[in-house]
Symmetry: D5
Subunit: 96 residues, 10 copies
């Protein structure tokens, strides 16, 4: 099942830079592992913002929550989830 | 270049149903043709709404506008455009 | 899988009252049938508004969309969908 | 009487982690005790967010306030309360 | 139990003036009867707007909904309901 | 003259608890004195929130401002003021 | 007493132009008479919008409502009222 | 003096197409004449929307209002005006 | 040229009180000097809020920005600027 | 390709002033260098705000993001990006 997820990262002033770098490094590793597993199907940067738009392909809302809420930057992210389904005019087999 | 586009269709009460059906039919044909050409890369339905989330792959903003503003349902759609670029953690070659 | 759905009904002025009554009658039949099947698990009225808050128990977002978008009053409803999952502090077996 | 309650938890950066863990532990105990008493009838996690959607079954608004405002995480929660009543199309005896 | 209710009246252009006058006349009769019964405890006009702020004293949310949703102008009103309870600093016996 | 006032208290994390308790104690004394004088005519708690809805009966906007802006918790409150007048359907002599 | 009032005029499509012109003519006469009486103290056009920002000098909220709600264009205006009082740094005698 | 202006065109359903075409034709003529005079300094289309972003170079707010409020499509436009001034980091002589 | 300006002062918790008092004192001096020069034409307090509504009479947007952005409390203010022009129904000579 | 960019600078209280001055100095150097290269085509100050409105002329969204996200003040800016294209009524050759 596909979920459209927008993540806006808002790091409060005063966070220790070294710790933040470590969070970002492990965030990247998690993101790449989930992409390799096919769970995190798309990951785009929104131009001009510290934000991404993603599409997840997971079993259900529970798996989505388990993946997203354990991301290292989760405490600093505003997250919006939109459930997707197949569009009747779609011609692309794997967009559902 | 990739653009994320959300389209919310709002048909005012009183539109002639036969004309609306014809608009929808040609909208579908246009959507499928643009998908086949690779211009309209993704097209998903938002669950529970007469709305879609799409990703267009076009030369620039001018081509995006020319495609979207000539869709048959354009006069009845609220449209939000978000320019995308490659995410540094993406592992997918064609998501840029 | 559970989805939280809020539906706000906004009937434009000028809709034929007899036709609207017929829509409401069939809407009620559909709502009751879906409740009996266990698909529409909860249905509450929001006090003071022509709105409801519902919980659907469906296979996935596709089934949710198929059920909601074919409701007779769908053209007159603003709909917000929120995917739910089990809360770690829940003690109720069937709330997931 | 039923109240729909949405709670969004926003913990400011810099809160002592050990103290926060203790708050969460007692919050969970309170939530489970209130569920066992039938006061906190439903408790769901919103997928992808540190938020819940709940339904309380209490005598009146006063009891609701007394329960919610004494939750350990109350100082860190944005809370929206919506009073519910029976929907005329509901077939479920206990949803009122 | 007390509910704070704000009602904003928005009459669409084109409503028959004679019918609207009749709606307003019966609305006034209903409002005055409910005030006499003590159900509609306060009723104020918001300065400069076709809106009121009211306080209802009813058994529960169901009674509130039954009263408000049968007002003659209900189809033309945006309504916001806020449940009230006793303030710990209140010295007024009947404000609860 | 009557003013409808909503006050939402937002205490930033890190405020000294003893000082805050002192602020709350003097706030309560001020609120009760103003109620006794008839200036602060109604004071209700919004269920589930650290907020109140009040009605002030003062000479004019200047007196309202002088009373509200000197409340001990004023620096931590978001305040919305709505001027009220008599509703033509009101039957209550003192609601104006 | 001074009230800051913003009026946004929104005329629905389809209003009879001759009737609208008559409304505007009487609106202008009313506005000028109220200015001459000192009730409508300031009246400015917001650049680029069919909107004005005004300051009324009236006895109280009741008089404000009586003046504003009987303006010929009142049914087509969104109106926001903000009560003003003297600023402690003001040096202008009549701005209070 | 420079003003940033955003215009969103919203044509209500049911407007006569021939009349609308005539409005658009004269709008274009006005826009081009004002550009030639240097009053309407920039005019861009927002991609995917029936909207433009413009920069006007006029004597003052009065001239801006006189130009904008007499555009043929003015009754169908939502307009936002933002006054601009020279940025201290600008190196472009004519951007002020 | 006239500009309508709303300033909302939001002082973060933890600002040194003595320094803040000094800022307020110099702010008041600046405000009074600018009023005496006729640049800051009106200055009103919004009842119940740490906010003001002002009208500036300046040569252009550049002068407005130079005045406002150098106010001592500027770093703690949310500021909204609205350009004004003469209203065709105004009878007051100096409101333009 | 042209992008309209609005940047609102929000510096949290407590940032070291000397470091902030250094950030502003390098921000200005970057802004002027990008203007000289023709990448940052327009840069205006919004009157009364610590904000700018800019137009960038870049190859694509990727180049825009690379330029904007490496600005020294990027961590303190809210940024909104709007893709522009040629307006059919434009007479200016270089506005596309």
């Amino acid at each position: 099942m596909l979920f459209h997820v927008r993540m806006d990262v808002r790091v409060p002033h005063g966070v220790d830079p070294a710790w933040l770098d470590e969070l970002k490094r492990t965030e990247r590793e998690r993101a790449q592992a989930l992409q390799s597993q096919g769970k995190w199907r798309h990951l785009w940067r929104i131009a001009g913002q510290y934000s991404n738009i993603s599409v997840f392909d997971v079993a259900d809302a529970q798996e989505l929550h388990d993946l997203v809420s354990t991301l290292p930057l989760f405490p600093f992210m505003d997250i919006q989830v939109t459930p997707l389904c197949r569009h009747p005019s779609s011609v692309r087999e794997d967009d559902s």
